[in-house]
C-alpha cells in the first residue's frame, strides 16, 4: 500500500490509525485532535470555572498522567485560568505504589504542579497490605475502592480544593454501564454515566466540609487506546502496572466484552456511553432529566467506578458466583412465597387445617429479603466521619469497624512476627559477635 496522506492536513504522511474511527492521521494532527476533543468536552460541559483550584487524582498511570499533561497544555493554550494540583493516594501496597508514586513525583516536577500524597495509614490507620493480611485477597478491593473514594475527597479538602478531576476514560465508563447492567444496579448505572458528580446541597452545615467536593471526568469520551497513543507520542512519563491484588470479577467480564465490541465496531465504546446516558434518564426516580444541574443531582459519595488505577476489579473473583447464589436464593424464596400463598388460599377454600405450611414457613422470611430495587437513595451524612452516605454510618466506617474489631487477632500475628524478629535479632547478634570476634 502506498503511504497515505493525513486525512486532516493532507500534507504529512499518515502514521496513526485512530482507534476511535479508524481515520488515518499524522502525528501532529493526532495530538492536536486529541487535545481539541478534550477541550471541547471541557467547554461544552462547562467543567471548569476561572479561578478554580482543581486537584487531579494522580496515580502515575497512563490515564491520570495524560490528563495532567493535557490539562496543563489546554489551561495554557486556552487560558482556563484554573490552578492545577496533583493529588495522590498511597494505598500502602508495597511494590505497586512505590514506583508509581515516584512517577507522580517526577510528573509534578515535569508539569510544575504542586503534589500532595496522602496515605491510607494516615487516613484510616491501615495500609492495604495490612488489610490484605487481615481479610485475605478475597474482597480486599472493596476496602481499597471505598477507602480511595473518600481519600480523594479528604485529600482535596485538606488542600482546600473543591474540584477533583479523575482520569476515567470512555472505556471505563462503557465498562461501568455494562457491569451495572450485569449486576442489575440501575441507580449506580445512572450515577456513573454523568460527567460531573457533586453534592452541593450538603455544603450548608459545617460538618460536611469533606463532602462538598465536585468531581468530573474530562476524559469521559476519550478512548483508552488513544490515551496510550497520546502518551506514547508525547513521550509522557507514566507507570504501567496492574494492581497486584486486582482479580477478575464483574468488571473483568464487562471489560473483556468492551474490548471485543471495540474490535467489531470501533464506535461501540462511545455508543455504550451514549446508551448509558440515555438509560440514566429512564431509571425510575433519577434526577438525570435535569442534566445533572439541579441541586440534588447525582450524589458522588457512594458511586463506584473503576476502583484501582488499573481500572480492574475491586471485588473478589467470586463476585459473580456470590451474586448468582444470592439471586437464585431470592428466586427460590419468591417461588416458595408464591407456593405458600397458593396453598393457603386453597386451604381457605377447603377449610383444612394448616399442615403443609409448617415445613415451608422456614423459608418464608426469605421472601421478604430486601431485593435490589431501583429505589431513590436519600443521601445524608455518616454519623462517624461526616462523609456523604446513604446509610447512618458510611461504608468506610463500617469496614474500618470490622477491621479494628479484629485487631486483637492481628496482635497475635504480630507476636508471631516478633518471634521471627527475635530470631533475626539473635542472628544479627551472632553476626555481631562474629564481627567482634
Amino acid at each position: 500500500m502506498p503511504p497515505s496522506p493525513c486525512a486532516l492536513c493532507k500534507v504529512n504522511r499518515a502514521l496513526i490509525l485512530r482507534p476511535k474511527d479508524h481515520s488515518k492521521l499524522c502525528r501532529p494532527c493526532f495530538l492536536s485532535t486529541f487535545e481539541a476533543e478534550i477541550h471541547h468536552t471541557i467547554t461544552s460541559s462547562r467543567l471548569f470555572e476561572r479561578g478554580e483550584r482543581i486537584a487531579i487524582g494522580a496515580s502515575g498511570g497512563k490515564d491520570s498522567t495524560v490528563l495532567a499533561s493535557v490539562l496543563k497544555t489546554l489551561n495554557e493554550r486556552y487560558d482556563y485560568g484554573v490552578e492545577l494540583i496533583l493529588l495522590s493516594i498511597d494505598e500502602g501496597i508495597r511494590g505497586y505504589r512505590d514506583d508509581s508514586l515516584e512517577t507522580v513525583k517526577r510528573n509534578a516536577q515535569q508539569y510544575g504542579m504542586p503534589l500532595e500524597i496522602l496515605g491510607y495509614d494516615e487516613l484510616y490507620g491501615w495500609t492495604m497490605d495490612q488489610v490484605v493480611e487481615q481479610v485475605g485477597k478475597r474482597g480486599n478491593c472493596t476496602y481499597c475502592g471505598v477507602f480511595r473514594r473518600q481519600a480523594l475527597d479528604r485529600g482535596a479538602a485538606k488542600l482546600g480544593v473543591k474540584h477533583v478531576v479523575t482520569g476515567h476514560n470512555a472505556d471505563d465508563v462503557a465498562e461501568t454501564v455494562l457491569m451495572n447492567l450485569l449486576r442489575g444496579d440501575l441507580p449506580r448505572l445512572s450515577r456513573t454515566t454523568s460527567i460531573v458528580t457533586s453534592t452541593p446541597s450538603l455544603s450548608a452545615d459545617g460538618a460536611g466540609k469533606n463532602t462538598n467536593i465536585k468531581r468530573s471526568k474530562p476524559l469521559k469520551y476519550t478512548y483508552e487506546k488513544e490515551i496510550v497513543l497520546y502518551a506514547h507520542h508525547k513521550n509522557l512519563d507514566y507507570f504501567s502496572t496492574e494492581c497486584i491484588y486486582s482479580p477478575e470479577a464483574f468488571r473483568g467480564s464487562a471489560r473483556a466484552l468492551i474490548k471485543n465490541l471495540e474490535r467489531v465496531r470501533p464506535s461501540a465504546i462511545l455508543d455504550v456511553v451514549r446508551s448509558g446516558e440515555d438509560m440514566a434518564k429512564l431509571v425510575p426516580g433519577s434526577d438525570e432529566g435535569c442534566g445533572g444541574v439541579c441541586a440534588s443531582a447525582v450524589p458522588a459519595g457512594e458511586e463506584e467506578e473503576g476502583g484501582c488505577g488499573s481500572a480492574n476489579g475491586r471485588s473478589s473473583g467470586g463476585e459473580m458466583a456470590t451474586m448468582e447464589d444470592q439471586l437464585s436464593q431470592n428466586e427460590a424464596a419468591k417461588a416458595n412465597g408464591l407456593e405458600v400463598e397458593i396453598t393457603s388460599s386453597k386451604i381457605k377454600k377447603s377449610e383444612a387445617p394448616l399442615p403443609l405450611t409448617v415445613g415451608k414457613s422456614r423459608k418464608v422470611p426469605k421472601a421478604s429479603q430486601p431485593r435490589k430495587e431501583p429505589k431513590k437513595q436519600v443521601m445524608g451524612q455518616c454519623k462517624k466521619c461526616g462523609y456523604l452516605s446513604s446509610q447512618e454510618i458510611c461504608k468506610a466506617c463500617v469496614l474500618l469497624e470490622g477491621l479494628n474489631k479484629n485487631r486483637p487477632k492481628n496482635h497475635i500475628e504480630v507476636g508471631y512476627e516478633q518471634e521471627k524478629d527475635v530470631n533475626g535479632a539473635t542472628e544479627a547478634m551472632k553476626q555481631l559477635d562474629v564481627g567482634a570476634g
Partner: protein, 380 residues
C-alpha cells in the same frame, strides 16, 4: 446440553412431586418430566394472564401473531400455547385466544419445504405464513419513510433489489445484520396489523432478551430498551408479549427434548455460535450471543437479572406526535436524531438534526446507516 444432567440424576427423586425420578436439574432443583413441563407452562401462563378465557369476549376471538423462527424457543412457545388452548377448551368449552403463525426467513437459514409443511400439519388450527425480509418494502404504506432509506437508484427495483442495494451500501456485517433484524421486526408488525392480530408473541427466552439488552446497548439504542424487553403496548401501536421471558434458553432446549414427540423435528438446527476469528465477520449480536451462552452456563440467575433490571427502566412517555426513527420506528424524544449534538460528539457541528435528504434516524440506526452529513464523523 440437556442430556448432560441426566446421568447423575437417575436415582434422585423429583424435588416437587417427590414421587417420580428426576430427569433433569432446573435451577438447582431435580425435576421429573411432568413437573418440569408444568414448571415451563407456569412461567408462560404468567405472561398470558390477559388471554385467559374469563377475559375473552365470547363473540370475538382474540388473535395473536406468533413469530416463529424454528429455533427451540419459538417452537416450544407454539407448542405450549397450543397446549394451553387445548386445556382452556377442555375446561370451559372455549378458548381465550387463537394464534396466527409467521415465519420470516433469516439469512443463511432456508428451511426445506418439508419443515415448512410440518408446522400446519402439527398445528392445523392456526394460519401459517411464510415471508422473506425484503417483502417489508411492499408491506409498509407507500409514503412510509422507510422507503426513503433505499438508495435513490434502487427506488424502482423490486423489493429484493431494494434490500440488496440497501445492504450493499452498508459498511459492516454488524450494520447489515442490524438492519435486517430491524426490518424483520417491522415486517412482523405490518403482517400482524394486516391480518387483524391484536398482539405479537415473541419467542425470546430470558437469555435472548439479555443478549438483546446488551447488544442494543452496544449499538447505542439504550433509549429504546424498555420497548425491547417488556410486555405491553409497543410504539408500533400493537402489543408485544414475551411469554418465554422467564425461561432460559437451555431450559427450552431441554423442553423440546423432554416433550419429544414431533417437537425436535420442528427445530431447525442452528449452527453453533462459533467465535469467528475475524472480527470482520462477527456481529455485535453474535458477540452477545456467545457471551450469554457462557454466562447462562454458570450464572443463570445473572442472565435473568439483566432482563429483570432492564424491565425496570421506564419508557419515556410518547405521543403519536413524537417523531419516529425512519428505520426502527422508535420514538425519538427531543429530536435527538443522528450521532451528532451530544457530549460524545467532538466535532461541534451544527447540523445535528436531520440530514440533507430529510431522513431521520435514531442514534443507533445512524451507526448502521451513516447519513451523508455524518460520514466524516465516525465510520469510514
Amino acid at each position: 446440553m440437556p442430556g448432560k444432567t441426566n446421568t447423575d440424576m437417575a436415582d434422585q427423586p423429583c424435588r416437587r412431586c417427590k414421587e417420580t425420578a428426576a430427569v433433569l436439574v432446573v435451577r438447582k432443583e431435580p425435576l421429573c418430566r411432568d413437573c418440569f413441563i408444568r414448571y415451563v407452562h407456569t412461567k408462560v401462563i404468567k405472561h398470558m394472564e390477559s388471554f385467559r378465557v374469563r377475559n375473552a369476549d365470547p363473540n370475538h376471538q382474540r388473535k395473536l401473531l406468533l413469530a416463529l423462527s424454528f429455533g427451540a424457543s419459538s417452537v416450544s412457545l407454539l407448542h405450549i400455547l397450543d397446549e394451553i388452548r387445548k386445556r382452556q377448551a377442555s375446561k370451559t368449552g372455549r378458548t381465550g385466544f387463537t394464534l396466527s403463525v409467521i415465519y420470516v426467513e433469516s439469512e443463511g437459514q432456508i428451511p426445506d419445504q418439508d419443515l415448512l409443511a410440518r408446522v400446519p400439519e402439527a398445528y392445523p388450527d392456526y394460519e401459517f405464513d411464510y415471508k422473506v425480509p425484503h417483502w417489508v418494502f411492499n408491506m409498509v404504506p407507500e409514503n412510509d419513510k422507510l422507503l426513503d432509506l433505499v438508495p435513490p437508484e434502487a427506488r424502482n427495483f423490486s423489493s429484493d433489489g431494494k434490500l440488496m442495494s440497501l445492504l450493499k451500501s452498508l459498511n459492516s456485517v454488524t450494520a447489515r445484520a442490524d438492519v435486517i433484524s430491524t426490518l424483520r421486526t417491522r415486517l412482523v408488525v405490518e403482517h400482524a396489523k394486516a391480518s387483524g392480530c391484536e398482539g405479537i408473541l415473541w419467542g425470546d427466552s430470558t437469555t435472548r432478551l439479555a443478549e438483546k439488552t446488551l447488544a442494543e446497548t452496544a449499538k447505542g439504542r439504550g433509549f429504546s430498551l424498555p420497548w425491547h424487553v417488556a410486555d405491553g403496548q409497543s410504539p408500533f401501536g400493537i402489543a408485544f408479549n414475551y411469554p418465554l421471558g422467564d425461561l432460559l434458553k437451555k431450559e427450552l432446549v431441554s423442553y423440546v427434548n423432554v416433550v419429544g414427540d414431533h417437537l425436535p423435528s420442528l427445530v431447525l438446527e442452528s449452527a453453533p455460535t462459533q467465535a469467528s476469528m475475524s472480527s470482520k465477520n462477527t456481529t455485535i449480536d453474535d458477540l452477545m450471543k456467545q457471551y450469554f451462552e457462557s454466562v447462562e452456563e454458570n450464572f443463570p440467575s445473572i442472565v435473568s437479572n439483566v432482563v429483570r433490571t432492564t424491565g425496570k427502566l421506564e419508557a419515556t412517555s410518547t405521543t403519536t406526535a413524537t417523531p419516529r426513527c425512519d428505520l426502527c420506528s422508535m420514538p425519538v424524544s427531543d429530536g435527538r436524531f443522528g450521532i451528532n449534538g451530544w457530549g460524545g460528539d467532538q466535532h461541534a457541528r451544527l447540523d445535528t438534526v436531520g440530514t440533507s435528504n430529510g431522513t431521520q434516524l435514531c442514534y443507533g440506526c445512524t451507526r448502521s446507516i451513516p447519513q451523508q452529513s455524518a460520514t466524516t464523523n465516525g465510520s469510514t
